[in-house]
C-alpha cells in the first residue's frame, strides 16, 4: 500500500469521525429543544387544570334509601389534593331536601392520596366518634355516602380509608370495621 492510499484512508476516517460528531451534537441540540417544548406542554397542562372541576354528587333523599345525583362545579384548583379536599367539604355541607348522613360539627382535617395503592385516606375530627348517632344503617350510610361519591367522581381512587384525628379506629359506633379501606358499593346510588 502506498503512502497516498494511507493518507486517503486516514482522510476518509477523519471525515467519517467528523460526520459522527456532527450527528451526535445535532441530536443533543434537538433533544434540548424537545425539553423546552415539553416544559411548554407542562405549563399548558397546568393551565388546563385551572378550570372549575365538574362533579356529579349523590345525596340521600328523605323518602328513598338511594342517593340521587346532582351536578356541581367545585372551583378552581392547582393540585389534585385540593380538588379532593374541596369535594369532601362540599359533601359535608347541609342541603335542603337532602339528608346528610353526617354528625353535626364534623370537619375534614386532611386528605392523602396513596397513588401506589389507589387509596384516598380521609381524616375527620373527633366529632365522628363522639356525636355519631349509633346504628348499623347510620354507619353504612355515612361510609358509602363518602366512598361512593369519591370513587364515582375520581376514577383514580379505588378505595377510601377513614381516620379520626389522624388515628385508626376499629369502628365508628360499634358495628362496621373501619380499620380497612372501603371499596364503593354503588347499590346505594340511583343515577337519573
Amino acid at each position: 500500500m502506498n503512502k497516498n492510499k494511507i493518507y486517503f484512508l486516514i482522510a476518509i476516517a477523519f471525515v467519517f469521525f467528523i460526520i459522527v460528531l456532527i450527528i451526535f451534537f445535532k441530536s443533543s441540540c434537538y433533544s434540548g429543544k424537545k425539553e423546552l417544548e415539553l416544559s411548554k406542554e407542562e405549563v399548558q397542562e397546568k393551565v388546563e387544570q385551572i378550570k372549575p372541576v365538574k362533579v356529579k354528587m349523590f345525596f340521600f333523599q328523605k323518602n328513598s334509601r338511594y342517593m340521587r345525583p346532582f351536578s356541581y362545579e367545585i372551583g378552581i384548583f392547582k393540585a389534585r389534593q385540593d380538588v379532593y379536599k374541596a369535594f369532601i367539604n362540599e359533601l359535608l355541607k347541609s342541603r335542603e331536601d337532602c339528608i346528610n348522613p353526617i354528625p353535626e360539627g364534623l370537619k375534614l382535617r386532611s386528605v392523602f392520596y396513596v397513588k401506589k395503592r389507589k387509596i384516598l385516606i380521609v381524616d375527620f375530627n373527633e366529632v365522628l366518634l363522639n356525636k355519631f348517632p349509633v346504628g348499623t344503617s347510620s354507619e353504612l350510610e355515612f361510609i358509602y355516602y363518602f366512598v361512593d361519591n369519591i370513587c364515582y367522581n375520581f376514577k383514580e381512587i379505588k378505595e377510601v380509608k377513614f381516620l379520626v384525628s389522624g388515628n385508626e379506629y376499629k369502628t365508628i359506633s360499634g358495628h362496621i370495621n373501619i380499620e380497612n379501606p372501603f371499596y364503593p358499593d354503588y347499590r346505594y346510588l340511583r343515577d337519573e
Binding site: R65, S138, F142, T171, H175, I176, N177, N180, Y183
Partner: protein
Amino acid sequence: MRNKLIFLILFVLIGDCLFSLSINVRSFDHQNYTRIVFEGDNSFGFKMNNFKNSIKIEINKIANIKNRITKTDDSQLIDRVVHSTKNNKSFLTVYFKSKFNIKRNFVLEKPFRVVFDVIKSEESDRDLDPSENKRVKQESKESNIKDKPPKKKLIEIICIDPGHGGTDLGAVGRSKLMEKGITLKVSRKVKKLIESKLGLRVITTRDKDVEVSLDSRAAMANNQKAQVFVSIHVNSSFRSSARGPETYYVSLKATDQEAFKLAEKENSSLGEAFKTAENDDLKMILWNMAQSEYIKESSKLASFIQNELNILMHTKNRGVKQAPFRVLMRVAMPAVLIEIAFISNFYEEKSLMDDSFLDKVANAIYTGISKFIYFYNNI
C-alpha cells in the same frame, strides 16, 4: 464534552449494575413437600430440564451465586445445589437424595423468584428394601387415616351476642328507649327457647348490663367452641322513614383487604416469613379472616332468620345483606348479625317497647336458627 464523557462512563456503570444478576438459592421442608426458591435481584429468563435425580435450570445470562456448591444437609429431599457457567449462561443443578416429582412451580415478582415445590416420588419407595417398604406403607396408611376429614360434628353449642351494654348504650330512640336493653331482653328469650325446645347449650356474651368489647365477644364464642354465632342488634338510620328487619353476614369485599395483606405477606421473602414478628402479623391477619371460611353457611343462616323475620313483620324480602362487621369478622363459625327493627322509626320504636312484639321476634329468630341447624346437620 467532558460532561458527555462522564455521562457515557456513568451509562456503562449503571448498565452494568442494571443487567448484572445475582441469585440466592434457599430451600425449606414443609410437611408434605420441599420448597426450593431461586431469588434474583433482577428478573431472568430460564429453561428447566428434569432428570432422574436432579433438576437443571439454564439461566440466559451469567449469574453471580455466592457458593458454587450449596449443601443442604437439613433438607429431607435436597442433597446439594451446584452452580456452573458455560457460553455466557449459568446452570443451577439441584440434586435430590431420591427420586422426586415436581408438585408445582411458579414465578413471583418483587423480588423476582422462581419457586419449585417438590415431593418425594412414590417410585423411590419401591426401590427401598422390603422391610423398609412395609414400614413406609404402614406410615403412609396411618397418615392417610389422619388426613381424612373428621366426621362432621353436629351443632351442640350456640352463642347469642346481645349487642352493646354498660356505658355503650347503642342506638337511642326519641323516647330514650335504649338498644342495649332490647338486645339483652331478646337474647334471653332466644336462649330460653333454644335450651327448652332444642335442648342445646347456649352461651351468651353478656347476661347483664355490662360493656364487652367486640373482639372479646368473638373470642368468647371461639374459646367456648360455639358452632353458631348470632349477634342481636337494633337498627338506626339518618333516614327516619327507614324500617324493617335486616340480617347481615360478613362481606367478602371487606376481607379482600385482609386477603391482599396476606398475599403481600406471602409474597414477602420466604425467610422473613418465619420471623416471630412477621408470624404474629400473619396470625392477626388470619384471625381477621376467620369468618371467610364460613361465608356460605353464614349466608344460609342469615337467609333462614331473615325469612322468619319477614313473615313476622310483613316486610318485603330485601334479601340478606353483607357488611364488614367487626364482631363477625373474627368469629370462626357460621355467624350473623340481626337488626330487629329501626329505633329511629317512630312506629318501630313503639313496637320495640312492646314485650309481646319482642316475644314474636325471639320466636322468629329461634325458628330461623333451628331451621339452619336442621339444614346443617343433614348436609
